[in-house]
């Protein structure tokens, strides 16, 4: 009888350490992970199949369900892909509104993630605060778009309707509130000695491999690359807005305490991005021109999109969100393929860096990579 030395643990699907409905199957000996396998597919709905069955416009409500914490990036990327194929240039005001919406969504998602990282290391207060503060953002979303989570506000050709009259005050109020809260988060998380001990130099993605492995977004910036699609290939109104991309080792007010690319740096980058997002929204609100917010297009439900291939990508809170759309000139897309950032982070990267981690560090590492299962399996 051969005796297996490792024992098997399932982190998820029914486990507090799993982000959403996914599962990590880990083999552990003693306290060290020897091997990890990501198991996905628990959320598979066959979106890409469904999209082929629906007309272009019907797909907008579908795509936003691909990433639950931050649905707007999907709408934006899909809309941009359609606009790309159609050759549309959307109104200037719509671009600014998209910027505002996307950045607000980013703040919300980052608050969730930072809270999640902190909670996975034990600061439940941070998670409670993060989700609680995010709720004020959702209120603004509700005021603007009519929905809390799935907004379906960004459409091909612009945004569905103009901002309400009091939008500026509403948004500014929330931003002021959030800004007043950020020092508290710093005290609770980033300046917490125990947090630093737990998070620094843990769950390191090798810097030289990060790009090759397809790491994107804050995780890539934590590894020391100043890569941000908002800067590289500006969409919406990002080319007209002045903002900084935080990356390791430029951690602003946070001390550089580690070699980077670890849980601590990834958290710090996210905290800094929240500040930058607030800055971006304020600028966008200030610079926003008047005018139409959507293209005047006659037949919403009878679009025929010219044949061709389009790939558009946006910088989501998790990384690069890309839409590969193929049209044959018909009423329905031939193929929509979504590139979620979690696809590489959650499967390949995590499986590679997991061996050697402690059990205690596994869930925080996975959460700090911001793995969101619905965009893996769609």
């Amino acid at each position: 009888m051969t005796i297996q030395k490792e024992f098997e643990l399932f982190i998820g699907p029914n486990h507090p350490g799993a982000t959403g409905n996914m599962s990590y199957h880990i083999w552990v000996e003693g306290d060290k992970v020897k091997k990890a396998e990501t198991r996905v597919g628990y959320l598979h709905r066959g979106f890409e199949k469904l999209m082929e069955k629906r007309i272009w416009m019907q797909n907008v409500p579908l795509v936003c369900r691909i990433c639950v914490p931050e649905p707007d990036v999907n709408e934006a990327a899909y809309s941009m892909a359609v606009e790309d194929l159609m050759g549309w240039e959307i109104p200037e005001r719509a671009k600014y509104i998209r910027t505002i919406i996307l950045e607000m969504a980013r703040i919300g998602a980052h608050l969730l993630t930072v809270g999640g990282i902190a909670a996975s290391l034990g600061i439940y207060t941070a998670a409670q605060w993060g989700v609680g503060d995010r709720d004020y953002l959702l209120d603004v979303f509700e005021e603007i778009t009519g929905a809390r989570v799935y907004h379906i506000y960004i459409w091909p050709g612009g945004v569905r309707w103009d901002l309400p009259k009091n939008a500026k005050e509403l948004i500014t109020k929330v931003l002021d509130y959030l800004e007043s809260r950020l020092p508290l988060y710093d005290d609770l998380i980033m300046n917490n000695k125990v947090f630093v001990r737990r998070a620094a130099d843990v769950g390191v993605v090798p810097k030289d491999k990060a790009v090759e492995w397809g790491v994107t977004g804050p995780n890539l910036r934590a590894a020391g690359y100043e890569y941000d699609i908002r800067k590289l290939e500006p969409y919406a109104a990002y080319d007209k807005i002045d903002f900084e991309v935080p990356y390791y080792p430029k951690l602003g007010e946070y001390e550089v305490l580690s070699e980077g690319s670890d849980i601590y740096t990834r958290t710090a980058i996210r905290m800094l991005e929240i500040q930058q997002s607030i800055k971006i929204i304020r600028q966008a609100l200030k610079d926003m021109p008047e005018g139409d917010v959507i293209l005047k297009h006659p037949q919403w439900f009878a679009w025929k999109v010219p044949a061709g291939y389009a790939y558009t990508h946006v910088e989501s809170s998790k990384g690069e969100f890309g839409y590969f759309v193929v049209s044959d000139g018909g009423k329905k897309p031939v193929r929509v393929h979504v590139r979620g950032p979690s696809y590489t982070h959650g499967i390949n990267v995590l499986e590679t860096i997991a061996p050697g981690l402690n059990i205690a560090d596994f869930a925080p590492t996975a959460i700090s990579l911001d793995v969101c299962p619905p965009d893996i399996e769609r």
Partner: protein
């Protein structure tokens, strides 16, 4: 009648030796022979002020025995101290033999013969009244143990036992020679010692010699090898019984021959002789290091071996402190250790008998398959970890009290932490072997193995309820040293610092258990399968019911990671210093660091010789 006994023993040895091909018959004969010491013990119980019931009066062993041997006279006589240690050995010995009957399937005659010879040797040691007798029987015991170690067949074990046995014997012999040189007599009673350095050297040598047998820390190297590579029943006897002979020797010479007042004359610290203080510190270090090393082991027998080293360290502490409280505690710990460690080794034997495995990481889930073995183990582990529902607690408690009474500020925390460390390895045994994933489909151990285990558990329960009885046993021993027994009633022990009332503990425990039971029995329950378990929602059938769920391999990995560097570094540093010293003597001296146990023991011997020489000159 002692002559007759020795004759029966020798006859028995020859018979069982000849019956090598009939292991069961040899075992039965050996078992009956092995009962003789116990009867002798009963007949001598008047030494301990215990009167025998009238129907046992036919037992009539004479209390002293002499034989003229040319250069000296062999004197054997029963003393309270000898009686106490004989109690431990003679009650353990038949049980071990009984266990062996079903344990050995072939080739057992030699084993029984050597065991009987070992017992004969220890019998003599415990009764010896002069150094010559003592040494002769000591050698008989040592060599017959060697025969048993050789049966284990591991070269490293044999070499390490041989070299450390020789070292021990040499140290003892050298000490005896010094004493003889000083006093001109072999007989303990006739020695008149003074506070000279020569006597101090002699007693230091003798105590270090016995410490080798008692596996005290710097000289413990042989114990893990021998314990882990010999046959189970023998190891149970060796660890449970024979290791106590070292402590018997220490007690005999420290308190019997030299005496407390003479020890104090070489300097005291807060009323404790410096000699004893050193011993206590070494004992505390042994207790701690043995515990830490035990936690790191994966081999069940090695774990138990290091645990033995750690637990025996407590006895050393007690002997070192040397107050009545401490000596009572040390003797109590010796008694507990005899029984619980024997049970643990026998249980390990039973587990091996059924599964053929010793590695903890390869065992698992035997608790429901071998419930009685498990329960016996559980009781022993309660005693080992000093949980207050066995007598294990009383012993540790006495030692702690003694240490606090003498204000051992730095030794007591180490003792307590070693006690907590015992929980760690105790749970490793429980979880790794008996709980967790059921990996083996085996039957309960045979009855002839269970009965000895359970008989050996009994004293742990009896002395839980009546710790006062134990204190009664120690009274004559302490009287011999001019001390009085600690105040007690059958259920209660008093010290100057606190009281320990077992009745309160037992009735409180039974009461609260009843309370919990009523609370708990309120609802029905159903038994579920092992794999109907929390797997984060994953259905086990998807994995063909094949999910490894036993976490015992490297169970305390974080612990190992924290402590291993210190132990490794410490040893390395020591050898670096030795190498640097060797450099002075020339290039050939580099061979000193050979990694062979025998060589190390010679170094230790050299070290002691140098020390002794220095003392003599001074």
């Amino acid at each position: 009648m002692i002559t007759l006994t020795i004759a029966i023993f020798l006859l028995g040895i020859i018979i069982v030796g000849l019956l090598n091909r009939y292991p069961k018959a040899a075992g039965v004969i050996a078992f009956f022979v092995s009962l003789i010491p116990f009867f002798a013990l009963l007949s001598w119980s008047s030494v301990m002020n215990i009167s025998l019931p009238s129907y046992l009066h036919f037992l009539n062993f004479e209390t002293s025995w002499q034989y003229n041997l040319g250069p000296g006279t062999l004197i054997l006589q029963i003393t309270p101290l000898g009686w106490f240690f004989l109690l431990l050995l003679s009650s353990l010995f038949p049980m071990v033999i009984l266990f062996s009957i079903s344990f050995f399937r072939s080739n057992a005659g030699g084993f029984y013969a050597a065991m009987l010879l070992t017992m004969l040797g220890s019998f003599g040691i415990l009764l010896a009244q002069d150094m010559l007798t003592f040494y002769i029987f000591w050698e008989i015991m040592s060599w017959s143990i060697l025969a048993l170690v050789i049966r284990g067949g591991d070269r490293k074990a044999i070499v390490s036992y041989l070299s450390f046995g020789a070292l021990s014997a040499m140290l003892i012999l050298f000490g005896f020679m010094l004493l003889y040189f000083k006093t001109g007599t072999y007989v303990f009673a006739e020695m008149h010692l003074d506070a000279s350095n020569l006597v101090l050297a002699a007693i230091s040598l003798i105590v270090s010699g016995f410490a080798v047998k008692g596996a005290l820390m710097p000289m413990h190297v042989w114990a893990p090898h021998v314990y882990s590579k010999s046959e189970e029943p023998f190891v149970a006897f060796l660890s449970g019984g024979l290791s106590k002979l070292g402590y018997f020797g220490i007690m005999l010479f420290m308190y019997g021959v030299v005496g407390f007042s003479l020890l104090s004359s070489w300097g005291t610290f807060r009323g404790v002789p410096l000699f004893g203080y050193t011993l206590a510190v070494v004992g505390a270090f042994t207790a701690f290091a043995g515990t830490v090393l035990a936690v790191m082991q994966d081999d069940l027998r090695k774990l138990l071996a290091y645990s033995s080293i750690g637990q025996l360290g407590y006895i050393t502490i007690g002997l070192g402190i040397g107050t009545p409280l401490a000596i009572t505690g040390a003797l109590f710990q010796a008694l507990n250790h005899t029984f619980f460690k024997a049970v643990l080794f026998l249980a390990a034997g039973a587990v091996y008998y059924r599964t053929g495995k010793y590695k903890i990481s390869e065992l698992g889930g035997l608790g429901y398959k071998m419930p009685f073995t498990f329960l016996a183990t559980l009781f022993s582990i309660f005693a080992l970890a000093a949980i207050p529902i066995t007598s294990g607690f009383a012993a540790k408690w006495l030692l702690y009290e003694a240490a606090i009474e003498k204000k051992f500020l730095f030794v007591t925390p180490i003792m307590l932490i070693a006690g907590v460390g015992a929980f760690l390895y105790a749970y490793k045994i429980l979880y790794g072997v008996f709980l967790g994933e059921p990996r083996y489909d085996v039957k309960e151990a045979p009855l002839s193995q269970l009965v000895p285990m359970w008989i050996l558990v009994l004293p742990l329960i009896i002395f839980l309820i009546f710790p006062g009885w134990f204190v009664d046993l120690t009274a004559p021993i302490l009287q011999g040293y001019g001390m009085t027994a600690i105040p007690h009633t059958p259920f209660m022990i008093n010290t100057s610092l606190a009281k320990y009332n077992t009745l309160a503990v037992i009735f409180g425990f039974i009461g609260t258990l009843l309370f919990a039971f009523i609370l708990y029995k309120s609802k029905p329950q159903e038994r579920v399968e092992h794999l109907d378990n929390y797997l984060a929602g994953e259905p086990p059938e998807l994995y063909n019911y094949n999910i490894a769920m036993h976490a015992s391999s490297k169970y305390y990995e974080p612990f190992d990671e924290v402590f291993y560097p210190y132990f490794k570094k410490g040893a390395e540093r020591m050898w670096e210093i030795i190498l640097a010293a060797g450099e002075v003597f020339g290039s050939g001296a580099r061979k000193i660091y050979t990694g062979i146990v025998g060589d190390y023991s010679i170094y230790i011997l050299l070290f002691f010789l140098i020390m002794v020489g220095w003392w003599l000159l001074w």
